[in-house]
Symmetry: C2
Subunit: 258 residues, 2 copies
């Protein structure tokens, strides 16, 4: 039975996608079978794994909005392999931007993603969901489907501001729709050791975050930003760079008990 | 009559807020009277201008969702001065996260912000609206209220992906609800001259963006990220840093005809 992780933070640009793509790739290189679910209409995780828009016939939108029997695709027709062995992707396209509206009146609309993933929970060791910078219905769906929540936090001031709201939403999901959901932990990203700002924010997170803060900090490293243009995770595009080393350390902390 | 600018990009973390706060501050220092409208429930522009949560009695949410006559506050009870002379702020709080739902069935829901700002259009030279990393109803409201759209683009690969969708939404707003809306231009942000990635992306933007790309590039500069923790725009917190110099150059390009 796969352990399912949702990577969530409504603050934009904090390295949600970079964390999903690279943690998933490390897990796959370690021999685990991994599924990345792209629940962000921007589709950055999909393209970061090398899947081009013209290769996608169905995406997560088709699974979320079509109920059984009306000719909707089966999930294994939507999931695609990636260039990395053991690593598959359930892709997103811009259609996903219409999901919130399409599901607005659906019964149990928060549980659609959980239902969609049920048929493949036993086919993978790890499922990891990338979300949009929002606390809307799709992110709630990701929290409802997950066993653990991972929260990337950019080591900068604005990233601290939304944290209490995010934790409130997580507690509501735990209380109302997914009681076993656990806080996996905070991941410190874009940590620039040369500035006081990064350590000040990191200290603030360690003091105030109600769950664990992972030891491994992901440094700012341009190779992490270059890898997506090659459609590869950085841990494959440049496995020796500081960013890749950090994601390998992070893997052992995050998935040690998966 | 104020010229109104919306700063929009659904990609997260591309420096929308940093651009709004610093361009507005430069304009104020140049003697223009400026209003920053924070249309993002994260409230980063509000705190970046030094307005603390406990100082806010009413925010944009109260104006958007209360129609005339039922005891709603007048806009000048909601607008607050900032530490910078000539620079006021219409603040946001987390309440704003409820605006999309509250307005879902309102008549002419896309035009609420435009109506809200009408009484103060003549009180300012420049109005500049910060938006969330989303193309939802609040961002549409900002586009419907604006005369010009400014699009910050981080010089990294993922930031290019959402551009065509953003331009599609802008054309729909121009066709349906705000025909005079003009593309002000693309602003290249977090430009790191030491990497090829930045120049590759910048070149791609200049080639494909259907409007002007401003000459002034905003370099990556940690002082821009430090300023918000002091509740000050960087152009005031550290006016001599490279980031501040870039926003001053950008001011002359963006507002030269305002
Ligand atoms: N440690 C790092 N060092 C340098 N660049 C990074 C790092 N992590 C991420 N990036 C880059 O920063 C930008 C933002 O990261 P990313 O897109 O992963 O964030 P996100 O939280 O998924 O954004 P969104 O909120 O839009 O979904 C990207 O261009 C990415 O390549
Ligand atoms: N040129 C720059 N150099 C260094 N840091 C920057 C620069 N511009 C912005 N930042 C920092 O990068 C982070 C993202 O910027 P900002 O919050 O302004 O982006 P945004 O587009 O408003 O994000 P969101 O999508 O969440 O609204 C912030 O911590 C900010 O302080
Ligand atoms: Mg992302
Ligand atoms: Mg912002």
């Amino acid at each position: 039975m796969a352990r399912c992780y949702a990577v969530v933070n409504q603050k934009g640009g904090v390295a949600k996608t970079t964390t999903v793509v690279n943690l998933a790739a490390v897990a796959a290189l370690e021999g685990r079978s991994v599924l990345v679910v792209d629940a962000d209409a921007q589709g950055n995780a999909t393209s970061g794994l090398g899947i081009r828009r013209d290769q996608i016939e169905f995406c997560l939108y088709d699974l979320l909005t079509r109920f059984d029997g009306d000719g909707s695709p089966a999930i294994d027709e939507v999931i695609q392999p990636t260039a990395t062995p053991n690593l598959d992707c359930l892709p997103a396209t811009i259609d996903l931007a219409g999901a919130q509206l399409a599901l607005a009146n659906a019964i149990s609309r928060e549980m659609r993603l959980r239902r969609v993933l049920e048929p493949v929970r036993n086919a993978y060791d790890i499922i990891i969901i990338d979300t949009a910078p929002s606390l809307g219905l799709l992110t709630i769906n990701a929290l409802a489907a997950a066993d653990r929540v991972l929260i990337p936090i950019q080591c900068e001031y604005y990233a601290l501001e939304g944290l209490s709201q995010l934790l409130q939403i997580i507690s509501m999901v735990q209380a109302e729709i997914n009681p076993p959901l656990a806080l996996g932990g905070a991941i410190l990203t874009m940590y620039d050791a040369r500035t006081n700002l990064a350590e000040d924010v990191a200290e603030e997170v360690r003091r105030n975050f109600p769950g664990p803060t992972f030891q491994a900090k992901v440094p700012r490293n341009v190779r992490l930003a270059e890898a997506p243009s090659h459609g590869l995770p950085a841990v494959i595009y440049d496995k020796h760079c500081p960013g890749s080393a950090a994601y390998r350390r992070l893997y052992w902390e995050v998935f040690e008990d998966a």
